[in-house]
Symmetry: C2
Subunit: 320 residues, 2 copies
């Protein structure tokens, strides 16, 4: 399956991003793929350090993820959660028993002074993940959602506890100015032939990564392809379309193009959005239409390989 | 079963102490029993705040304890621990799934500003424990074991991780000078008719409690009965006898009497140690012989009721 001699850095958030990352890992040699993962969703819960997006990406790459939800582990058990329930403890965040071991060991190692990126690398080794997975920063960054009701809530509270019901007004990445990029992250981008934004939420998955110090500068002059997380005016998963609407923007592939317009080279969209392209009469973005929905592993691999081929054709000057 | 109109404060550590505490709870009205529990064994593990003795006492009182081990929960599962093992995380401390929920919720509530005693009280309410269980302090106290090899190790490392193999030289209760007694603790002692030291390790279970500020002063002029944790020269459980030997003291009921001689009124010993009493020709301690081994719940209740009767006979001046 590995047949591409091209070095790729991809940016990913949670479930949707992880699916494409899985595909990319099948289309590229492990040394040719670095996945930079959002950590703005990270939070402390019950004293444990939880990195939802990093875990989702790693579990998915390792084929350990729960195939029904996309997050958490397959064949999970819920002994701890049901005991927490009996104690009337908060159970809004679904802590599976096996998943809990990840959080416990991560927390232990962070407290003994290891960095999130070192720990992630070791976990990947144990789980058989061969490509490089880099949390965007080892320093704390907290995505805060400012709501229409002038509340400021953490992303997990917004997303999980409140089921993304509050209307968003803006996003804030607390700590981002003090957050250093993970060691090797900027170098990975600089060394990459192609940058791929996975079909993750632009506001809360990709933007935090772009805001990490040095990332935008490193991306200058790079060939960057995004895979649209919006298909047919809807988000494939999660609140992306709802967020666009609440921010007064029509959710469409054009709003994705517009969101990234300053840096994007190419945008992969679903064929059902092909008509939209005619609306773009000002950007230099190159479009590629395909079936952008990943229903199974074959879809992930097919889409990933298509995205890579699209990138290669741009790099080779075959499309413009 | 409840037939004693006497107010009791008992001091307890882990498994042995918890057994007698269970018996006392059956012999006394809930409002007539306060159990003060050692917290010197408390430690942080995987970022969680663990209070082994408090849990053992509460689980035992609630009839939730694992009957085979005396610690941990009955019908426990080990999903998290086996997942930790796969991550090559430390597994020397046996974290059961249900038990873990206790540590998680305790940690969460401590971090939100609740005190250990408040949390313990709420857990007791949920578990149906009616008597008052007071951790000795809400402030951190850490029992440190100084070994013959001049190591200084935490109690859990000594006791669990190293299976109490290191030879002890002395004990230190780090933080004890700054530790305040739990709110209500001194008042409980002052209001008590009778103080009972459960058959817990004198060095690492009872002594830490006695060293909490104000406890020794409150115990002055109180009728205090200890139940010997040494029977036939051996500790009923744990390293008490081994500790005595390593400190150059013959482990016997007389060494228990000697250890507490400045404050003790009465000592309950096993009949097989009856001959030892003749060795005591200098203290004013009153002895009571019985079957001091608690094999089942009936034993716990029988022994507890006997200890209370012994205490009453001292209070009534019937023995001296």
């Amino acid at each position: 399956m590995v047949h591409n001699d091209i070095n790729v850095v991809s940016l990913a958030g949670g479930v949707g991003g992880a699916k494409l990352a899985f595909g990319l890992a099948k289309c590229l040699a492990p040394t040719d793929l670095t996945i930079i993962v959002n950590t703005g969703d990270d939070f402390k819960h019950f004293g444990l350090q939880i990195s939802p997006d990093v875990d989702t990406v790693c579990y998915t790459l390792a084929r350990l993820a729960n195939p029904d939800t996309g997050w958490g582990l397959a064949n999970e058990t819920w002994q701890v959660l049901s005991a927490l329930e009996k104690l009337a403890a908060p159970t809004w965040f679904q802590l599976g028993d096996k998943d809990l071991a990840t959080h416990l060991e991560r927390t232990r190692r962070l407290q003994q002074g290891d960095s999130l990126s070192e720990i992630t690398q070791d976990f990947c080794k144990k789980w058989g993940v061969q490509c490089k997975v880099l949390p965007m920063s080892n320093d704390p960054v907290q995505t805060l959602v400012h709501t229409e009701d002038n509340e400021i809530i953490s992303f997990q509270e917004y997303f999980v506890k409140r089921n993304f019901l509050p209307k968003v007004r803006k996003f804030e990445f607390a700590g981002i100015d003090q957050a250093n990029p993970t060691p090797g992250l900027i170098e990975s981008i600089l060394a990459a032939d192609l940058i791929i934004f996975c079909p993750s939420n632009p506001f809360v998955s990709i933007d935090p990564i772009l805001e990490v110090r040095g990332v935008r500068a490193a991306l200058e002059n790079k060939v960057i392809i995004a895979v649209s997380p919006i298909v047919g005016g809807k988000a494939l998963k999660g609140p992306a379309a709802k967020m666009f609407l609440e921010l007064g923007i029509n959710p469409s592939v054009m709003s994705i193009a517009d969101h990234y317009k300053q840096i994007l080279t190419g945008l992969v969209i679903d064929t059902k959005d092909a008509d939209e392209i005619s609306n773009d009469n000002h950007s230099r973005i190159i479009y590629y239409e395909t079936n952008a929905i990943m229903k199974d592993e074959d879809d992930r691999i097919r889409l990933a390989c298509e995205v890579i081929e699209f990138g290669k054709s741009i790099l080779n000057g075959e499309v413009s």
